[in-house]
C-alpha cells in the first residue's frame, strides 16, 4: 500500500505506475487515473486510503459487466471450443472446467482436437482418466475438424450436457492456422445445427500488451464469447484484461491459479481489483 499522507500529483503518478507494472496498458492506466482524479475532485476526497479504494472500485466497475457464467445445458450439448496461443494453459483449463462441471452433476466429454503437438492427445487423455471424464480422440495428424464433427455427433446422440473441445495452440499471426480455426468452427456448427455455444479464449496472466492483440485477432477469426485468465498464482497480475474488457464484448469466465483441477474459480472483479493494486 502507499505511505503518502495526502493526495498529490505524486500519488497519481505512483498509482499509474502501479497499474502499468500490473500490465494495464498505458492508455487504460491513464484513463483510470483521470477518472480517479475527477472523483477525488468532485467528492472532495482528502484521504489517500479512500482514493485508493475508489481506484479499486473503478477497476472492478470496468470489469463488472463482463462477468457472466457459462450457459446452462438447456439444449444439450453445450459446445465449448477452447482457443489461444501456444502454452497458455488451454488443455489444463479444459480439464479444470470439465472437473468443475462434473462436480455440478453435468455429463461432460472432452475432445482431443489438437492433433498436431507432440503428445497433446495423450496429455488430454491422462487428464480424462484423472478426473473421470471421457475423451473423444482420433490419431495424431488427423483433421481436427473431423474429430470435432465426430465428437459433436456422438454427444448429440448421447445427450451429453457439455462438450469441451481442445485445440492446438496457435499464434494469431499464422494465417493458415487461423483459417484452420475458422474451419473447425464451421464444421462444429454444421454438426450442431447452430453456432457453437461458447468460444473460450485462454490468456496467460504473464502476457503483456500482446494480450489485447491476441483477443482482437481471435475475435476476428471466431465469435469469442468467453475468456479465461491463467497462471494468476505467479506474480503477474493480468492487468492486460482491462483493455480487452474495454474493447471486446466478452465475458471473463474463470481464472486459473495453479496446475491442479481445483485451482480454478469463477472470475471475481472485486478480488481481481484488490490483487491488482496490493
Amino acid at each position: 500500500a502507499f505511505r503518502r499522507s495526502e493526495i498529490t500529483e505524486d500519488l497519481y503518478e505512483a498509482l499509474e505506475e502501479s497499474l502499468i507494472l500490473s500490465d494495464v496498458s498505458v492508455e487504460t492506466a491513464t484513463l483510470l487515473v483521470d477518472r480517479l482524479r475527477e472523483r477525488v475532485r468532485r467528492e472532495g476526497i482528502k484521504d489517500v486510503e479512500a482514493a485508493y479504494d475508489v481506484l479499486q472500485h473503478l477497476v472492478a466497475e470496468l470489469l463488472a459487466e463482463h462477468v457472466r457464467p457459462l450457459p446452462p445445458p438447456t439444449r444439450p450439448p453445450v459446445v465449448v471450443v477452447v482457443v489461444g496461443v501456444n502454452g497458455v494453459g488451454k488443455t489444463t483449463t479444459i480439464a479444470k472446467l470439465a472437473a468443475l462441471l462434473k462436480r455440478q452433476r453435468h455429463s461432460v466429454v472432452m475432445v482431443a482436437a489438437d492433433t498436431f503437438r507432440a503428445a497433446a492427445i495423450e496429455q488430454l487423455e491422462l487428464w480424462g482418466q484423472r478426473i473421470g471424464v471421457d475423451v473423444v480422440r482420433h490419431q495424431m495428424g488427423a483433421d481436427p475438424a473431423a474429430v470435432v464433427f465426430d465428437a459433436i455427433q456422438s454427444a448429440c446422440a448421447r445427450k451429453v450436457d457439455y462438450v469441451i473441445i481442445d485445440t492446438a495452440g496457435r499464434l494469431h499471426t499464422k494465417h493458415n492456422l487461423m483459417e484452420e480455426l475458422r474451419k473447425i468452427d464451421r464444421v462444429a456448427q454444421r454438426a450442431l445445427g447452430h453456432t457453437v455455444d461458447e468460444t473460450l479464449l485462454v490468456l496467460d496472466a504473464t502476457t503483456g500488451q500482446n494480450a489485447l492483440v491476441q483477443a482482437r485477432e481471435f475475435a476476428q477469426a471466431v465469435n469469442l464469447t468467453g475468456l479465461v485468465l491463467t497462471k494468476l498464482d505467479g506474480t503477474a497480475k493480468g492487468g492486460n484484461v482491462l483493455s480487452i474488457a474495454a474493447e471486446i464484448p466478452i465475458s471473463i469466465r474463470y481464472v486459473g491459479t495453479g496446475e491442479r483441477p481445483e485451482d480454478f474459480a469463477p472470475f471475481d472483479p472485486q478480488r481481481f481489483a484488490r490483487e491488482l493494486l496490493p
Partner: protein, 292 residues
C-alpha cells in the same frame, strides 16, 4: 512507428542548432510510450529514457527531420548496447559429457526448445542425450520422447515415480558409459515464487553441474519478466536466456528488461514450433522490433 512519430514531432523544428531540454522532453515522452507498449519494464524504461535525454540534449541538428533521425539513432544505439551480444557459443565441459539445464515458467517452450538444442548440437557433430525430469505434467515424458524421435536424439527417462535429482544422476552415469557428448536436461515448468520447486531445481543443478543454465522465457511476457529473471538468476546463477515465440507479433520488450536486471545474455531466439526454428540472438533485429 517511433521514427514517424518523432519526425512529426520535430517538424516544427525548422531551424538548425542544438536540441534544447524542451525539444527533447516531448520526444522522450513518445519514446517512453513506445517502450512501455513494447512491454519493457516500467523502471527499466525510466532509467533508459534518463540516459537518452542526457545524450539528446545539446545534440547539434541541421533540421527537424535531422533531429528525429538523431534521436532515433541515439535510442537504437543505446538499446542495442544494452541488449548486448549473445554470450558466444554454448559452453563445453573440460571433459564430456557437458550438461545443459533448461528451466523456466510453465508453458514457456522448454520441452520444444530442448528438441531444438538437440538438433543444433547434432548439426555441430555432437551426440546429445535428452533427459526427461518433468515427472509432474501429464504426458510430459511422452512429449519429450516424440520430440526426441523427431530430432533423432535418444531420451533418458525413469518414469514419473523417480525424483528429478535421481533421474539426472542416473542420466549422467548413462551418458558417461554410452559416450554421449551432451546432456540436455528438460525440467518441469515452475514459478519463481514456488520455494519447493525452486529448491528442487537448485538440487538438480547441483547434481549435474551444468555448463549452461538456460532460462526459457516467452517473448510476450509483460512487466513480470523482471521478477522471473531476477528470482531464477538469484537462485540458479543462470548463464543466459532463450526467448521463445518470436514468430508472433509481440514487440519483445521483455528482452531489454531481463538483460538489464540480470546482466545475463540472451543466447537464442525461438521462432517457431519446428525443431530447426532456433536462431542465435542478434541485438540489431530485436532492437528494431522493440522500437516498432
Amino acid at each position: 512507428s517511433l521514427s514517424e512519430k518523432l519526425q512529426n514531432l520535430f517538424q516544427q523544428l525548422g531551424r538548425k542548432g542544438r536540441l534544447t531540454e524542451a525539444d527533447v522532453t516531448e520526444a522522450v515522452r513518445q519514446i517512453r510510450l513506445a517502450l512501455l507498449e513494447a512491454d519493457v519494464n516500467y523502471r527499466v524504461v525510466k532509467e533508459f529514457i534518463a540516459r537518452i535525454k542526457e545524450q539528446a540534449v545539446g545534440e547539434e541538428v541541421l533540421s527537424g527531420l535531422n533531429a528525429a533521425q538523431h534521436v532515433v539513432k541515439i535510442v537504437r544505439d543505446e538499446l542495442q548496447a544494452l541488449l548486448g551480444d549473445n554470450g558466444g557459443p554454448l559452453a563445453n565441459a573440460p571433459k564430456p559429457p557437458t550438461a545443459y539445464l533448461v528451466v523456466g515458467l510453465q508453458g514457456g517452450g522448454k520441452t520444444t526448445t530442448c528438441g531444438k538444442l538437440a538438433a543444433h548440437l547434432r548439426k555441430g557433430g555432437h551426440r546429445p542425450l535428452l533427459v526427461a525430469t518433468d515427472v509432474a505434467r501429464p504426458a510430459a515424458i511422452q512429449q519429450l520422447q516424440v520430440v526426441g524421435e523427431a530430432v533423432k536424439t535418444p531420451v533418458f527417462q525413469l518414469g514419473t515415480r523417480v525424483s528429478p535429482v535421481d533421474i539426472v544422476r542416473a542420466a549422467l552415469a548413462h551418458a558417461r558409459e554410452q559416450g554421449f557428448t551432451h546432456l540436455i536436461v528438460d525440467t518441469a515448468g515452475r514459478l519463481h515464487v514456488d520455494d519447493v520447486l525452486m529448491d528442487e531445481v537448485v538440487a538438480v543443478r547441483d547434481a549435474v553441474a551444468p555448463q549452461e543454465i538456460l532460462l526459457v522465457l516467452d517473448a510476450m511476457t509483460g512487466q513480470d519478466a523482471v521478477n522471473v529473471a531476477e528470482q531464477f538468476n538469484a537462485r540458479l546463477e543462470i548463464s543466459g536466456f532463450i526467448l521463445t515465440k518470436l514468430d508472433g507479433d509481440t514487440r519483445g520488450g521483455a528482452a531489454l528488461s531481463i538483460r538489464s536486471v540480470t546482466g545475463k545474455p540472451i543466447r537464442f531466439l525461438g521462432v517457431g514450433e519446428k525443431y530447426d526454428a532456433l536462431e542465435t540472438f542478434h541485438a540489431d533485429r530485436l532492437t528494431s522490433r522493440i522500437i516498432g
